[in-house]
């Protein structure tokens, strides 16, 4: 407590912190970025290992051989699908019944708030078909799910074929201690959402669906399978779920362990692991993989059908078959063996997967960075805010004892001071509320008055409100009739900085990637902005570092990392579609990124914008 109670030492420390504030901030920022980039460097990461004892010690022998038959089923399914022009529900029910499952269907319908132009859907009607294989060995209190989406067109037929093949094979085995649910969901995530809501008797998104007639026990783990070709070259594991939630790392470990055992090439983010970590190419591969994961996680959207399971405390991942031009080929039998092995291990679970990490980043499948290692990168960025806040606090405090009149004078500016701080706060939050609510509410009006489609109307309204918010300081000034004082902006900045620190801290805890990316762009703005910096230049920098521009940059970086660079125009179009997807994700699945940005982050940024134009 010496530091807190000894005034001399406190003063020395405060002096040091205020004198070296700017260099310290710069050092913190660089150190934060360097730390983050260092996370992908192999000697700084940990090797993944299986923490769950129930899955570790028991080796299983895979005997699934019916890959060819699964392919035949897949072709039959494809033919039926083509004939029906959609999901062949009756055929699937019969096929599942023939394999000895208890089969149920669930129909659902959902009208989107505005048409989804990427997937070309607006009013969605569909049916989920699922069959339950009852556990012969245990009292049916727990279940595992294997799902395959039924997508329009010719994709994903093999996944359904393999699912049916596995169902038939699993039916013949005696060792199941958990119910296994085989689910074919239509309209990918919407169907999955309907099924999960039905299964858990909740309705969080206002979707209409028929109640489920049959249930298994509580779901312990789920795998979603996506296969579009008869032969694959590698399997890709997708982990990022809704709001950046990740399944327990043991699920990834399990997948990796079986890929090693069976000898299948496995990738994450579509990137194959390299063995030469000490070369520049090896490091760059790891960085790219990690950055892709960070960008995907930050988007807060489910990147596979598994993404919605995580909300219900169910560990889930998607396994995606990739067919590229590699020589190394794998047939469906091998994939089936992999799934059989994974399910048998999951079947051994005595409790939910909880032993391993929930907060991690993966620079490759065999290496991981846990929360203790990556949080300091964010902590260093957040420290800048605290340093700045301390500096401001000292600046605010120092003139007060200097004036001889003391409190009597200090009281006077307090009245208008509160008003001049409160007004920008309220106005910027109201702008945020407008940004959140208006795009969807005003789409009808926009479509009537402008030659745009509904989706464009929503996105363009959002961008218009976002831009209109920049005109805010002038309006505030009119309200206040030029009462801004030197002290006023300091108080406002202190509040804004502190607001941002708490906001980013909370975000980083829930979704590290989002918090970090936002901190990367917002913290410098928050640190340097004052009314005395060159106005035009700073305004330009601020706009470039605003949340919207961050999204635009992220899109370019993402495309670059995916090795699919795009032109500016394509980038802009993608930007528009990403915004519409973000709004849709929020309305359909309850993703929190759009409300977070519009209701909290954007107003916070507007406060800083307000400080720049303080008079």
């Amino acid at each position: 407590m010496g530091l807190l109670s000894d005034p001399n030492r406190r003063r020395a420390l405060t002096n040091l912190l205020t004198r070296l504030n700017t260099p310290l901030c710069i050092v913190c920022y660089l150190a934060g970025v360097a730390w983050f980039m260092g996370l992908a460097f192999e000697p700084f990461t940990l090797r993944t290992y299986m923490s769950e004892n129930a899955m570790g010690s028991t080796m299983v022998e895979e005997r699934f051989l019916a890959g060819e038959r699964a392919l035949v089923t897949a072709r039959e399914f494809a033919a039926q699908k083509k004939k029906m022009g959609g999901m062949p529900v009756d055929w699937l029910v019969k096929a599942m019944q023939a394999r000895g499952l208890e089969v149920f269907t669930q129909s659902f319908s959902r009208t989107l708030p505005f048409p989804d132009e990427n997937k070309e859907r607006y009013m969605v009607h569909g049916t989920n078909v699922y069959g339950i294989l009852r556990a012969p060995r245990a009292p049916r209190t727990e279940a595992l799910v294997l799902s395959a989406p039924c997508t329009p067109g010719s994709s994903n037929n093999q996944a359904v074929g393999l699912l049916l093949g596995l169902a038939q094979y699993f039916r013949g085995q005696m060792y199941w201690a958990k119910d296994i649910i085989f689910l074919v969901n239509e309209h990918d995530l919407i169907g999955m959402q309907a099924w999960l809501e039905g299964y858990h008797h909740t309705n969080t998104t206002g979707m209409s669906w028929t109640p489920l007639e049959g249930r298994g026990g509580s779901i312990q783990a789920a795998l979603s399978l996506e296969l579009s070709s008869d032969i694959i070259t590698s399997l890709d594991l997708v982990l990022e779920g809704l709001n950046g939630q990740l399944p327990n790392l043991d699920l990834a470990n399990l997948f990796y362990a079986f890929c090693q055992k069976i000898g299948v090439l496995c990738t994450i983010q579509g990137k194959l692991q390299r063995n030469d970590w000490d070369s520049a190419a090896g490091y760059s591969q790891a960085v790219q993989t990690m950055l892709l994961m960070v960008l995907k996680q930050a988007s807060g959207r489910p990147w596979g059908d598994h993404g919605l399971f995580l909300r219900y405390h169910i560990e889930a991942a998607s396994i995606r078959g990739i067919n590229s031009f590699r020589q190394y080929k794998t047939d469906l039998t091998t994939v089936g063996k992999l799934l059989e092995g994974m399910f048998r291990k999951l079947n051994n679970l005595l409790e939910r997967l909880h032993q391993s990490y929930f907060f991690y980043l993966l620079p490759s499948l065999s290496r991981f960075v846990s929360i203790g290692y990556y949080m300091p990168a964010f902590g260093l960025l957040a420290a800048i805010l605290l340093l700045r806040a301390l500096d401001l606090w000292v600046q605010l405090g120092s003139p007060a004892p200097g004036t001889e009149d003391g409190l009597v004078d200090g009281e006077q500016p307090f009245g208008p001071g509160v008003l001049s701080v409160l007004t920008p706060l309220i106005i910027s939050h109201l702008t945020g509320v407008a940004l959140y609510t208006l795009p969807i509410m005003a789409q009808q009006t926009a479509v009537e008055h402008f030659p745009v489609s509904e989706t464009e109307a929503v996105v363009l309204t959002a961008i218009a409100i976002y831009t209109a918010g920049l005109a805010l300081p002038h309006n505030t000034h009119r309200v206040l009739s030029g009462e801004g004082t030197e002290e006023g902006w300091r108080v406002l900045k202190l509040i804004a900085i502190f607001y941002m620190a708490v906001l980013l801290g909370c975000t980083a805890l829930i979704n590290f990637s989002l918090g970090f990316i936002l901190a990367l762009t917002l913290v410098p703005v928050a640190a340097f902005i004052t009314p005395h910096v060159p106005r035009v230049l700073s305004a330009l920098v601020m706009v470039l570092l605003s949340p919207g521009s961050t999204l635009l940059f992220s899109i370019f970086v993402y495309q670059e990392l995916q090795e699919a660079p795009i032109t500016l125009l394509e980038g802009w179009n993608l930007f528009l579609s990403v915004i519409s997807q973000g709004i849709l994700d929020h309305n359909l699945y309850g993703s929190l990124v759009y409300p977070l940005i519009s209701l909290l982050v954007y107003p916070c940024w507007l406060l800083l914008w307000n400080i720049l134009f303080w008079k």
Binding site: L4, S5, D6, P7, N8, R10, Q245, L246, L310, R311, H313, R352, H354, F358, F359, L386, A389, L390, W393, P401, G406, L407, V408, E411, F498, A501, V502, G505, C506, L509, I510
Partner: protein, 435 residues
């Protein structure tokens, strides 16, 4: 001054009424930060249902409120929202009047001291002015009514609001100098949650001071008044307890309320220090550590009463803060009561050392509570350690806040007797160091 107070009351009631009808009320009733097993509204409703069925409300280990509360709500169950709003209003008005009266006393004392030329000449800037003190009562009411913690507590219908009202009435009657009413309300507060027992000492000190009886153990007048106050207190406590017995015609409520408070069987997470510690502990250490933890609340009364015997109102503030930190089932409603007193000590601001740190910690923690709860309970990705870490930090922040005010208060008193600009013996400027 009545007009601004009325305005504040109207604003506060409007906010509460809006929130009561909004969708926020339902989830708030479930928040562990806002309601505890003692004061959750759901449990009161359960107790009422049991009572209506003719069973003892304490059967089934759900209901832990006192019999008087359940009989109160037995009659006004349909107007529960209004009761809670009125309770908050009463607390605010009582605190307003109490602080107004207290400020008058303080000012009068200061005037006498000034006339007697008792203050050193260089500490004129420490002298409080009527202008500065004029708005303090209003600020107190404002701090209580518009504090988000109070609002949440009221909207969640946590019976903590009623306890706060009783304590506020106790403070009012003490400061107004009515020994009998003070004893009655103190007994009522004790009856509600035991811990206000520690407020006996400051109340006694204040009343003694008011009657110009010095605290001197060799003076019969001191013992006479102490005895008088203690008898009034114990007598009314006895009457209330017996009344409860006759209402329910059983002593069930004693183990169910006081046993529950003291032995802490319910380890639902809350913002206090008990739950994690006792969830982790081996059973055979439990009794010893419960004693250690509970003594915390009561123990500080002795040194604080000795140190602050000239300043009983500050002592009341310290005691309420200590109760809300160390009690077994604290909620944010308890915190809001002592936070309402902060404007009264606004003249100590210049001596506060850690206020920046403390306000950062408190605000950050308040935001992190729901986030970590979400990660732990809903997402399943964090665990109880994360939540407890924040609880711990929050309490450290509170303790720092209270000790900072304590230090500032003592330092101001020191300056008032020794002068503001202290000199060492050799004439150089001296600084005070707390060790």
């Amino acid at each position: 001054m009545a007009a601004p107070l009325t305005l504040v009351l109207i604003v506060a009631v409007t906010i509460r009424a809006v929130l009561f009808s909004s969708s926020l009320a339902e989830p708030l009733m479930e928040r562990v930060e806002v309601v505890s097993p003692l004061n959750a509204w759901k449990r009161v409703v359960e107790g009422l249902a049991l009572l209506d069925l003719g069973a003892s409300p304490y059967s089934g280990d759900v209901f832990h409120e006192t019999p008087l509360i359940i009989y109160l709500f037995h009659f006004v169950i349909d107007y529960a929202d209004i009761v809670f709003m009125i309770a908050d209003g009463i607390t605010a008005v009582a605190l307003y009047l109490a602080v107004q009266d207290y400020n008058k006393t303080v000012f009068r004392k200061q005037k006498y001291a000034l006339e007697a030329d008792r203050y050193p000449h260089d500490c004129l800037e420490l002298i409080r002015t009527p202008k500065e003190m004029y708005y303090i009562p209003l600020k107190v009411a404002l701090f209580y009514l518009l504090n988000p913690f109070t609002i949440f507590s009221c909207v969640a219908k946590s019976t903590c609001g009623l306890n706060n009202a009783v304590i506020a009435l106790f403070i009012l009657s003490t400061i107004k100098g009515s020994a009998f009413l003070s004893a009655v309300f103190l007994a009522l507060a004790t009856y509600q949650s035991i811990y206000p027992l520690t407020l006996f000492a400051p109340a006694l000190l204040f009343l003694l001071q008011r009657l110009y009886i010095p605290v001197n153990f060799y003076r019969p007048s001191f013992w006479l008044f102490t005895l008088q106050y203690a008898v009034m207190y114990l007598g009314s406590l006895c009457v209330i307890v017996c009344l409860s017995f006759f209402l329910l015609s059983s002593w069930d409520f004693i183990p169910s309320v006081y046993g529950f408070i003291l032995s802490v069987p319910d380890l639902t997470p809350n913002i206090g220090l008990f739950w994690y510690f006792f969830a982790e502990m081996f059973e055979h250490f439990r009794f010893f550590f419960i004693c250690v933890f509970q003594i915390n609340v009561f123990f500080y009364t002795i040194p604080l009463s000795i140190k602050l015997k000239e300043h009983p109102v500050f002592l009341i503030f310290m005691q309420i803060a200590i109760i809300s930190i160390f009690k077994s089932y604290p909620t944010v409603g308890d915190i809001s009561l002592y936070m309402a007193f902060l404007p009264v000590w606004s003249h100590l601001y210049r001596f506060l050392r850690n206020i920046f740190l403390v306000s950062c910690v408190m605000l950050a923690c308040s935001a992190l509570f729901p986030v970590l709860w979400h990660l732990w309970i809903y997402a399943g990705s964090a665990n109880s350690n994360f939540y407890y870490a924040i609880t711990l930090l929050f309490n450290v922040g509170q303790i720092l806040l209270v000790s900072d005010y304590f230090y500032a208060f003592l330092r101001r008193e020191h300056h008032l007797t020794h002068g503001l600009y202290l000199k060492r013996k050799d004439g150089s400027e001296a600084t005070l160091v707390l060790k």
